[in-house]
């Protein structure tokens, strides 16, 4: 199957290893990956901060870039949430209802693509580490991702999956919230880090590098040896 990768702007700039891992997993499963180089951003940051016009032009660009792409893979649950929850309304405003309606069934978050579209849970990965899973708010509530990431992780050889306490609590990232309300964001992060450290895991995994940048930044700031890794990188190993 030909899979069109939407890498997400911040993964492109800051977390290229995640993109490489997605390519590796998909190719290992026998699929062909394309990367449409005109792609940029889904517009989430602009939309969530109130910059509707800018978000709108980014949505138009997205629709244009992925016209004709049959299956779009996005290794970022929050970008998928932006597309599913907000594109329809913006599309209605812009007279692009049909384009958006045609786009939605073609968009898959990375773990959804593997489990739902391909029906795969064992991707042949080996990862000899103690791992805990952070369920990002967008994956949990907007995507209703359920146990998809867990099913994938449980099938990884030599991986020990440890339950994260209070896993439905937000880590405190929230895009510009992390800067506009840095103090509260940091307090939320402290709670999240304490839960992660309690598990004794070496690695904290999620389907969103945005949360992981926040959590990982906090752990590193405390000089903790616990590392944050995107689920694609675990599945590619």
């Amino acid at each position: 199957m030909l899979i069109s990768l939407f890498i997400a702007c911040y993964n492109d700039a800051l977390f290229p290893e995640t993109g490489k891992a997605v390519v590796r997993v998909l190719e290992r499963l026998g699929h062909t990956v394309e990367f449409r180089s005109a792609q940029t951003c889904c517009g989430q940051m602009h939309y969530n901060t109130g910059y509707y016009d800018e978000a709108m032009s980014l949505m138009r660009h997205f629709l244009e870039v992925f016209r004709g792409a049959e299956t779009i893979c996005i290794p970022s649950a929050s970008c998928v949430a932006m597309i599913r929850d907000h594109f329809p309304r913006m599309g209605a405003d812009a007279g692009l209802e049909t384009e958006v309606a045609e786009l939605l069934p073609r968009v898959f978050e990375f773990t959804e693509l593997l489990t739902d579209k391909f029906g795969v849970t064992d991707v042949g990965a080996v990862y000899p580490h103690r791992v805990t899973l952070h369920t990002s708010c967008h994956s949990l509530r907007a995507l209703q991702i359920g146990d998809r990431p867990k099913r994938l992780l449980r099938a990884v050889r030599e991986l020990e999956l440890i339950e994260l306490p209070e896993s439905d609590q937000c880590c405190g990232f929230g895009g510009t919230f992390a800067i506009k309300n840095a103090a509260v964001s940091t307090a939320m992060l402290s709670d999240k880090m304490q839960c992660i450290l309690e598990t004794g895991a070496e690695i904290c995994v999620a389907a969103d590098n945005s949360c992981l940048m926040h959590i990982g930044g906090g752990l590193k700031h405390q000089a903790s040896p616990v590392r944050c890794v995107h689920i694609a990188e675990v599945l590619a190993s």
Partner: protein
């Protein structure tokens, strides 16, 4: 018109207020313990309802219908209430409401009132207006009494004294009620409050209440509560005044069935409230002989005018969103600078004011969606927060640097080629970026930009 929402015009902005509150470890422990308990109780009693989603949808439809036809339902209520012997007053704003209420009390030459279950009177700052007119208000809801005696402010919609623990309340009661001794158990504290309040219940001739619901069809008013003090307030006095926000109307008596299932489970994690008082006008030789209803607008019609956010007025003040909110969990309610705190406060307060005040509130959320998930009337709070942010940006109220940054980013992201160049520039400018990102870097290391972006790697690969 002067719309007050308590003291919120003078409140500090959320980032500043929350920073101070985060330093209060005792308060944070109290808030966390209390919200965790209520949240878990709620989850248990909601899980046992097979038709919970149907009830939520029904409630949302009833509220939508009410808001679409609010004018006629209010007139229907006035007619029915008047027919049953009540008198209805219309108040455009806080000052008008206070004038009406003070006037009613003065016309009977009374100087004291007993109050219960009324956030709208906090909204209009009624107690200040009463005191200025020489009238003493006594709060009779236990938590409101704790707030009043402590000259404190409510920090939660359902449990206003949630930020206080047993020990603090005991000290307060001993000091303010003049008690030389008092036990340490909750029973001792409620017994002290009972003795203090009972004298007033029997003496004071004017009662004042809020309302959870008002029924258009019958002119009935409904108050739900846990203590029975509300029942005393609405039945013992000779004169009863009830202030109701205009959005509290439901069309028919049958509609109460939906809300009386949703509200207690969402608010306190109970299957039913211990006291459900419903009364209609006046009844000869039973209860108050005079009944007045003040219908309060105070900014509500302004909220109604915005189709994108009017569902804010669906709110039945259950506070499930506060108990679910990870931000509220850290700061408690005072950071929101309004009697309406938490996620619902973050959308309600600025809208009642008309967005001139409380502009930091729409940003006081990580948009995690926990509030929307638990809301019994399905208010899409995250979506409304975003809508209010947009209203601020469109009105030119957002920070200038933020606007420039967002616009620059949008230009850089207008095509892949430009974005690739922007990524290179960011890499070169990294040391400078690190300096700028102080808000971030105080507690979180800034990720190091990789030597090669994904698109560079891809270009080499193919």
């Amino acid at each position: 018109m002067s719309v007050h929402v308590g003291d919120s015009e003078r409140a500090e902005d959320f980032p500043k207020a929350s920073r101070q509150l985060l330093g209060n470890e005792q308060l944070r422990r109290n808030v966390r313990r209390a919200t965790d308990v209520i949240r878990n109780k709620r989850a248990n009693v909601v899980a046992e309802m097979p038709d919970w989603e149907d009830l939520r949808n029904a409630a949302r439809e009833i509220k939508r219908n009410v808001l679409r036809n609010l004018d006629s339902y209010l007139e229907q209520f006035e007619e029915a209430c008047t027919r049953a012997g009540g008198r209805v007053h219309w108040a455009r704003d806080a000052d008008e409401a206070n004038r009406i209420i003070v006037g009613l009390i003065q016309s009977h030459n009374e100087t004291e009132i007993i109050k219960v279950k009324t956030m709208t009177s906090d909204e209009t700052r009624l107690n200040l207006a009463l005191e200025a007119a020489g009238i003493t208000p006594y709060e009779t809801d236990l938590a409101d009494l704790i707030i009043q005696l402590g000259h404190d402010k409510p920090s939660h919609i359902v449990v206003p004294a949630l930020h206080r623990n047993k020990t603090e309340i005991r000290e307060l009661f001993m000091r303010e009620m003049g008690l030389p001794e008092l036990g340490t158990q909750p029973e001792d504290l409620t017994a002290a409050a009972r003795t203090y309040l009972r004298k007033r219940f029997l003496r004071v001739k004017v009662g004042f209440s809020g309302a959870n619901f008002a029924v258009a069809e019958t002119g009935s008013v409904c108050v739900v509560e846990s203590e029975g003090n509300g029942r005393m307030c609405v039945t013992l006095p000779e004169i009863l005044i009830t202030m109701i926000g205009i959005e509290k109307i439901v069309p028919s008596f049958d509609d109460l069935e939906v809300f009386l299932q949703l509200l207690p489970r969402s608010a306190t994690g109970e299957r039913m409230n211990p006291y459900n008082s419903i009364w209609t006008g006046v009844t000869a030789e039973d209860g108050p002989r005079e009944f007045h209803v003040v219908l309060l607008d105070n900014g509500r019609t302004k909220v109604l005018a915005d189709p994108e956010s009017r569902e804010t007025l669906h709110c039945i003040r259950c506070a499930a969103c506060l108990n679910a909110c990870p931000v509220y969990r850290q700061t408690g309610g005072h950071a929101y600078g309004s009697i309406y705190s938490g996620p619902i406060g973050a959308i309600l307060t600025p809208q009642l004011h008309g967005m001139e005040h409380s502009q930091s509130l729409p940003y006081a959320s990580s948009l995690c969606g926990a509030c929307y998930e638990v809301c019994p009337v399905k208010i899409n709070i995250p979506e409304i927060l975003i809508h209010l942010r947009r209203r601020l940006v469109d009105a030119g109220e957002a920070p200038v640097m933020e606007g420039l940054g967002m616009k620059a980013a949008a230009i850089a992201m207008s095509d892949g080629g430009r974005f690739g160049i922007a990524e290179k520039l960011v890499r070169i400018g990294q040391p400078f970026g690190r300096f700028v990102a102080t808000g971030w870097a105080e507690s979180r290391d800034v990720p190091e930009a990789p030597k090669e972006t994904f698109r560079e790697w891809w270009a080499k690969r193919s």
